[in-house]
């Protein structure tokens, strides 16, 4: 520890010396913060760790994922791990996608002033404004396509001057697109039939009734499947 190189950052206004070359998330833990919320996958996929920072002498705020961004000298940061943004209630099968249901469920999208602040806040580099604009004109396929990489971190919704809940709009768009425009993948249908037929019930029961020690042993011995070349899994989803 003694020869570790340190750098100073500010977490919620308080100065900490943290190791150089670690992520914001690791730096916060090093500084003594313990995550009850605001951390999940630690791999940039779950969107739980939205964070804002400003560098010394810089007027712009930057928007990142704490588990992905490295600390930098003089960074002032805080986490914004949660966005109060209730989701509209709907039953997908009951919606008529020919009407602009996105606008009906999220009428505030009509307030968009095209400031593009949402796009600049997105750590996934999604064209967020463009998918909101596509939603406004009922272009569900475009919403689905543009918002595909959204991880629902909520940072866009925290920044929007029109109080739009972008990621819910994107999610609804993808769902509508999936139901209305895309073929149901065969492997999915097959898997659902397997589940319904109880094919995995036995294994589940065994796991559920296992002791903690057994579970730990199983976890330690687990075999991680090699990643297969995506020949079956993704191809069939296409129209």
């Amino acid at each position: 520890m003694a020869d570790e190189k340190l750098t100073q950052i500010y977490i919620m206004g308080k100065a900490y010396d943290v190791p150089v070359g670690v992520t914001i998330m690791d730096a916060m833990e090093y500084a003594g913060y313990r995550f009850i919320r605001g951390a999940g996958c630690r791999s940039g996929f779950c969107g739980a760790c939205g964070t804002v920072y400003r560098k010394a002498g810089e007027y712009r705020l930057e928007f990142v994922l704490a588990c992905q961004e490295m600390v930098e000298e003089g960074m002032h940061l805080t986490q914004l791990p949660f966005t109060p943004a209730p989701r509209s209630d709907y039953t997908l099968a009951e919606l008529d996608p020919s009407e602009n249901v996105l606008l009906q469920h999220y009428p505030e999208i009509a307030r968009c002033v095209s400031c593009n602040t949402c796009t600049k806040a997105c750590p996934q580099e999604i064209e967020v404004m463009d998918y909101i604009q596509a939603a406004l004109r009922g272009d569900v396929a475009k919403v689905a396509e543009l918002s595909f990489d959204c991880i629902a971190c909520g940072l866009c919704a925290m920044r929007c001057p029109a109080d739009i809940k972008h990621y819910h709009v994107g999610q609804m768009g993808r769902r509508l697109h999936g139901v209305a425009d895309l073929a149901t993948p065969e492997h999915l249908t097959a898997r659902i039939a397997q589940l319904d037929g109880g094919a995995f019930d036995g294994e589940m029961e065994t796991l559920a009734s296992a002791s903690l020690a057994d579970l730990k042993a199983k976890y330690a011995e687990r075999v991680i499947e090699k990643v297969q070349e995506p020949e079956v899994a993704t191809e069939e989803v296409a129209t």
Partner: protein, 291 residues
């Protein structure tokens, strides 16, 4: 002729799709096809009149940047409201360099807008670039004996700086329909307001306004009222569905977009037309097939 950079606006992709479909056909037939901007956003809907409300002009400015990116100096619109908003913002930032500078500074880390984009309504393109004569020559299904009332509303003709024609006695839309064989009637409410967004909060206000417009057109002898704005079209349609007061006269009148009748005259396939236009062709137009 080269392709025209085209800005649709949200309504034309949604409830006013037939307005646009017909325009695509017309311009294609005239050899000046519309090429939709690859990326565009809402025009801003209503031009903000506040002196210091620059935020609400950004939407239009972004579309000007997209137009430049598409290699065009001109942007053609179809919706009267989009035309009005885009044209007024274009004029405003052209005249106020300080405001444009502020908008560019706000957009930050993005392409600046340097000015220079000209907004044109499709009726201006038809009148000034293509010409009535050329339009006439393309007609395959003349709208003989069809009496039309061209209804302009507000946003095409006001304010004067951006109006596409005389603000009190506009003729451009009537001329376009006359060029394809229809007979325009004159009526006093051609440039009155339809009631606009009052239809949402105070529907009776918009319905009364729209009702007056339809009645006046009918009394002037019109079979059909033609519009250039999805909101005017909507309000007039609502007035047809839910007439107020003494309105027997209006029951027999139809309301369609001007592009729909132009497309019909230029030979659009009946299958692509809205039921209203098909009905107009079969009941009022006596040219083709001697129906």
């Amino acid at each position: 002729m080269t392709k025209l950079a085209y800005f649709p606006g949200c309504s034309l992709k949604d409830n006013a799709k037939r307005f646009e479909d017909a325009a695509f056909f017309v311009m294609e037939t005239l050899g000046a096809p519309l090429e939709e901007l690859e990326t565009w956003n809402c025009c801003g809907t209503v031009y903000s009149l506040a002196d210091d409300d620059l935020m609400h002009h950004i939407a239009s400015v972004r579309n000007f940047i997209r137009t430049k990116e598409a290699g065009s100096e001109e942007l053609v619109t179809l919706c009267a409201m989009c035309y009005n908003t885009l044209a007024r913002v274009a004029g405003r930032v052209e005249a106020h360099a300080d405001e444009l500078e502020k908008i560019n500074a706000f957009m930050d880390r993005e392409e600046d807008y340097e000015g220079g984009i000209r907004i044109r309504h499709i009726l201006q393109v038809l009148r000034d670039t293509i010409g009535w004569e050329a339009l006439s020559e393309t007609v395959v299904r003349p709208l003989d004996n069809l009496k039309i009332a061209a209804y302009y509303g507000c946003t095409l003709v006001r304010p004067q700086e951006t109006g596409i024609d005389d603000m009190e006695r506009p003729v451009v839309m009537a001329d376009a329909l006359a060029a394809v064989g229809a007979e325009p009637v004159t009526f006093p409410f051609e440039a009155e307001c339809c009631g606009t967004y009052q239809i949402v909060d105070e529907p009776h206000l918009a319905l009364e306004q729209s009702n007056r417009i339809l009645r006046s057109a009918r009394l002037a002898g019109a079979d059909v009222v033609v519009t250039a704005c999805p909101l005017c079209q909507h309000n007039l349609e609502q007035a047809l569905i839910a007439p107020v007061g003494e309105s027997e006269e209006i029951k027999s009148i139809q309301v369609v977009y001007f592009t729909e009748l132009l497309a019909a005259a230029l030979g659009a396939d009946e299958a692509t037309m809205s039921p209203v236009v098909r009905e107009i062709l079969s009941t009022s137009v006596t040219a083709e097939g001697g129906a």
